[in-house]
Symmetry: C2
Subunit: 129 residues, 2 copies
DNA sequence: ATAGATCCTATAGTAACTATAGAGTCAAAT
DNA sequence: ATTTGACTCTATAGTTACTATAGGATCTAT
């Protein structure tokens, strides 16, 4: 299949696919006579792996490491484990930040009487302090 | 005061201060004879306003809008309100995403028996599906 | 006078894409 | 046989909010 079909099947945009290739996350595909990229179902699977990792917010760099690890099936999976743990730590950290954020934003929203002037607005006041 | 002192007092890096100025978030400061930026305490307050907004993850563009609104003290604050509500919606959306993320990552982490080969690793398996 | 700290501008790099320009290729209809 | 339209190619620039660097200029203290 050509890149357009791969794009539809994977849900990744054409540009993103080419970008992943440039970044070394996908193998260089065979080319047709007219230099079009030609993919098989294995390539689709690779792309889906990348997409799944991205949906977990794993960085392209870490995905690259995971792909390398996948290609060493006999080694210990402790590095895979570590990577996932680290990803979890990131997510937890960001969630904590967002909880604090949310609390302050909610407080600000409630500090605004409905029909104030900007001058009297509790929101602007709290941003100023 | 010069930019180094403003940087220390505000906790923003010198480059960030200059960047905010370029982006129109800070007024162009007076300059010394040797072309050094000179700030007063009002400038520090402006910068602190920006910093506080950034700590709430408000985008530079939205901060610009807030600054414009601040300069129209007699108008209604409904746009300020809307902006904060929108920011809250963003935060809520991201939190929801992160909760889903966390759940999947945790499941993956628990799918890995401690001493597997990569080939047998539950994490890689679940990323492959 | 000079050394060191601080400042200046302009430019490039970061992450993970997205968008565009300008050209080439291919399949189908005329 | 040609032309239209859809698709593809590469290379480059833009996005967000900064950070880092190069190559100078300026100021302060000795």
């Amino acid at each position: 299949m050509k890149i357009g079909e791969l794009s539809k099947k994977s849900g990744c945009s054409i540009q993103t696919i080419r970008y992943y290739e440039r970044e070394g996350l996908l193998l260089n595909p065979n080319r047709s006579e007219g230099n079009f990229r030609l993919y098989d179902s294995k390539a689709l699977k690779q792309l889906e792996f990348v997409k799944h990792c991205r949906s977990l917010d794993i960085s392209l760099n870490d995905i690259k490491r995971l792909i390398e690890l996948k290609n060493k099936p006999e080694e210990s999976c402790s590095s895979v484990n570590a990577l996932i743990d680290q990803q979890l730590a990131l997510v937890n950290k960001r969630m904590k930040e967002l909880r604090a954020l949310k609390a302050e934003l909610q407080q600000m929203a409630s500090a605004c009487g409905s029909d104030n002037t900007i001058e009297a607005c509790g929101i602007i006041k709290s941003l100023d302090s």
